[in-house]
């Protein structure tokens, strides 16, 4: 080989070694930089804005806790917070209860199980916007269920939760549970199928009835499925925005506002960037209060 070629190959070898060492960092760095700026950078920016008098445009003069005082004296914010807890609690509980029940019923080796399973799982394929719009029509007193039952011959029947400010948040729960319980069913069905038949037979020989077998033997065995379903459902509940927008648009009045819709309306419809930032920070703090203990216990568990 002529010398220049050898020199070149030595150089390529150097580049190769360099790449070998730094390639992972180089590949990851744009992503790392992007998340540093667009996630953590903007979190810091939002926190800063929440301490200023920002209105239509951001302003950078600090104003102390003014926006937090204004936020916590806004009745609408309390409605949004209360709705978040009512919605998340009932949504998770409802999906779990219906999902587990459906899974246990399907677990009885029934006929056309595949068809039924698909039917229950199908709502999951729809977006929340479609679900919300469909349920808006179903629940509308002059179009949907109420009118249908009245025409069946029960003129006194009334089902007007959609326009009742005290009940409207439950319509959001109904639509959410309808959409997501099939998913919980699928998770649990997989879990139930993984339980060893020997255990079930042993329980039967010991004289345990089906209720006792499920409640005290099978469900405790598949405990990890509970954890993963609750985590999936909780994050759907906390981030849900589109379902409310499509179903009630926050109404009647602002009875079905969630913190996310509250924040959007203050930032983009009301020119109140400061209050919106304060509400966003409150949401972040709430989520951190849940996530940090969880992460802490996970990491400690890993070290053991």
């Amino acid at each position: 080989m002529p010398p220049p070629a050898r020199a070149k190959s030595a150089r390529t070898l150097g580049i190769d070694r360099f790449l070998e060492r730094w390639l992972p960092q180089i590949v990851v760095s744009p992503l790392f930089a992007a998340s540093l700026i667009f996630v953590y950078g903007f979190i810091v920016w939002t926190v800063y804005i929440s301490f200023t008098r920002s209105g239509v445009l951001p302003s950078y003069n600090l104003a102390g806790l003014l926006q937090y005082e204004r936020l916590w004296s806004t009745p609408r914010w309390y409605v949004a917070l209360q709705n978040l807890f009512v919605f998340s609690g009932l949504f998770i509980a409802g999906c779990m209860a219906i999902g587990i029940l459906l899974a246990i019923l399907l677990d009885q080796r029934i006929r056309i199980e595949g068809v039924i399973r698909t039917i229950y799982l199908y709502p999951m394929a729809l977006s929340f916007i479609v679900t919300g719009t469909a349920w808006k029509w179903i629940l509308n007193p002059t179009l949907g269920i109420e009118k249908f039952v009245q025409e069946l011959g029960f003129p006194g029947f009334s089902f007007d939760w959609l326009i009742d400010p005290h009940m409207a948040i439950y319509t959001v729960v109904i639509a959410g549970v309808w959409q997501s319980s099939g998913y919980v069913m699928a998770l649990f069905l997989a879990g139930l199928r993984s339980v060893d038949d020997e255990i079930i037979r042993a329980a039967a020989i010991d004289g345990a009835g089906p209720v006792r077998t499920y409640a005290t033997i099978i469900l405790p065995i598949i405990r990890p499925v509970f954890l993963s379903s609750i985590i999936v459902l909780a994050h759907i509940a906390i981030k849900s925005y589109d379902l409310v927008v499509a179903l009630t648009n926050g109404g009647p009045g602002y009875a079905t506002d969630l913190p996310a819709t509250f924040m959007y309306s203050f930032a983009f419809q009301r020119s109140e960037l400061g209050v919106a930032a304060a509400s966003a920070v409150m949401m972040l703090v709430t989520i951190m209060a849940i996530i940090v203990p969880y992460l802490y216990s996970e990491l400690r568990g890993g070290r053991k």
Partner: protein, 350 residues
């Protein structure tokens, strides 16, 4: 709005933006607007625009925006065939008359009032009721100047009392209904009245309905007042000779009588210029124009709260939240007045 904010912050604002009301002042205070005062002076806009509207278009006495139209907000639209069913042949001129007709319709099993579910529709209704019950002077004091005494006055309680009555006249199916569907209810005889600005006329016109025979338009009981709404083009500070020139051409064009006529014939509004001949316009528009001139003379022309003409959006938002909350719950009028005053104080702290 989000896109506009991003572009202004990035130093690349659009030449002209459709903005309105105190929103224009908000941007002007940020130093983002350019004036077209030389065009306005040359074409003498001051002489042809209603003074209330001209003031909204100006910042530091210079025109920064050009209005394209005037919408009247305080209209009642009615289906005469439906009204005839309960023996009513004229439009109500007081709220007592309105309530009496509505009660009669309700007894006959007809929905008296078509309204949708958007909070701004509730606020539009409230806007009209506030002018009708309180009069223009009260409207100016309480809503435009946000005077605490007027905000907590007995008149304000009466406004909410009438608003409570209005809620009783709406059917149950309002959830998720837009304003144009409410207009269609009046058209199809499913409801007798709608209270909405004259953009509703565009819906009637699009369906081929004729004012006076297929539908009636009348000013809502308003004690001789007139609630003004207007769309306008606002000019932002741009660099480049051709862009600045373009802004001036646009300003001149928008204010030209022929544009104002053509545009407003389609939109249902009337020209912002008070000197445009209304030969081609329908009877509702002519009535709107007459009342506009009268209200300018009597000083009873007020900018619309619901259509973002009267006060900045942070204050309007407090009205919006409170009114829609009141309308959709069983809150008492006295509590509503208290909560409204508290909300305005909160907005003032900004």
């Amino acid at each position: 709005m989000t896109a506009l904010r991003a572009r202004v912050v990035a130093g690349n604002p659009p030449s002209a933006v459709q903005l309105k009301g105190p929103g224009i002042q908000e941007w002007a205070e940020q130093g983002a607007l350019a004036d077209v005062d030389d065009v306005a002076k040359a074409e003498n806009w001051d002489a042809v625009l209603p003074p209330v509207l001209a003031a909204i278009m100006k910042y530091e006495n210079k025109y920064v925006a050009a209005p394209v139209n005037i919408h009247r907000v305080d209209w009642i639209w009615a289906n005469p065939a439906v009204l005839a069913k309960v023996g009513v042949t004229t439009m109500p001129t007081t709220w007592d008359e309105f309530n009496a007709i509505a009660d009669k319709l309700k007894e006959a099993g007809i929905t008296p009032l078509a309204n949708g579910s958007d909070p701004w529709q509730d606020l539009t209704l409230w806007d009209v009721v506030a002018l009708g019950v309180g009069g223009a002077e009260f409207y100016q004091k309480a809503i435009v100047q946000l005077d605490p005494a007027a905000l907590t006055s007995d008149t304000m309680v009466k406004v909410f009392d009438q608003m409570r009555k209005m809620r009783g006249y709406v059917d149950e199916g309002f959830a998720g209904r837009s304003w144009d569907l409410a207009t269609r209810m009046v058209m199809n005889g499913e409801a007798a009245f709608q209270i909405m600005g004259d953009w509703a006329k565009g819906e009637f016109a699009a369906a081929g309905k004729v004012p006076g025979t297929d539908y009636w338009c009348a000013p809502a009981p308003d004690q001789g007042g007139y609630i003004l709404n207007s769309d306008s083009f606002v000019f932002f500070k741009v660099s480049g000779e051709d862009k600045v020139k373009g802004q001036k051409v646009l300003a001149s064009l928008v204010m030209s009588p022929s544009f104002q006529e053509t545009f407003n014939l389609a939109k249902g509004s009337i020209p912002a210029r008070t000197d445009v001949a209304l030969d081609k316009f329908d009877s509702c528009a002519v009535k709107s124009h007459e009342d506009l001139l009268a209200s300018i003379g009597n000083n009873t022309l007020v900018p619309s709260l619901s259509q973002e003409m009267a006060i900045p959006r942070s204050y309007r938002g407090e009205f919006l939240d409170l009114v829609t909350q009141f309308y959709n719950t069983d809150m008492s009028s006295a509590d509503a007045v208290k909560a409204l005053a508290a909300g305005i104080e909160r907005a003032r702290a900004q």
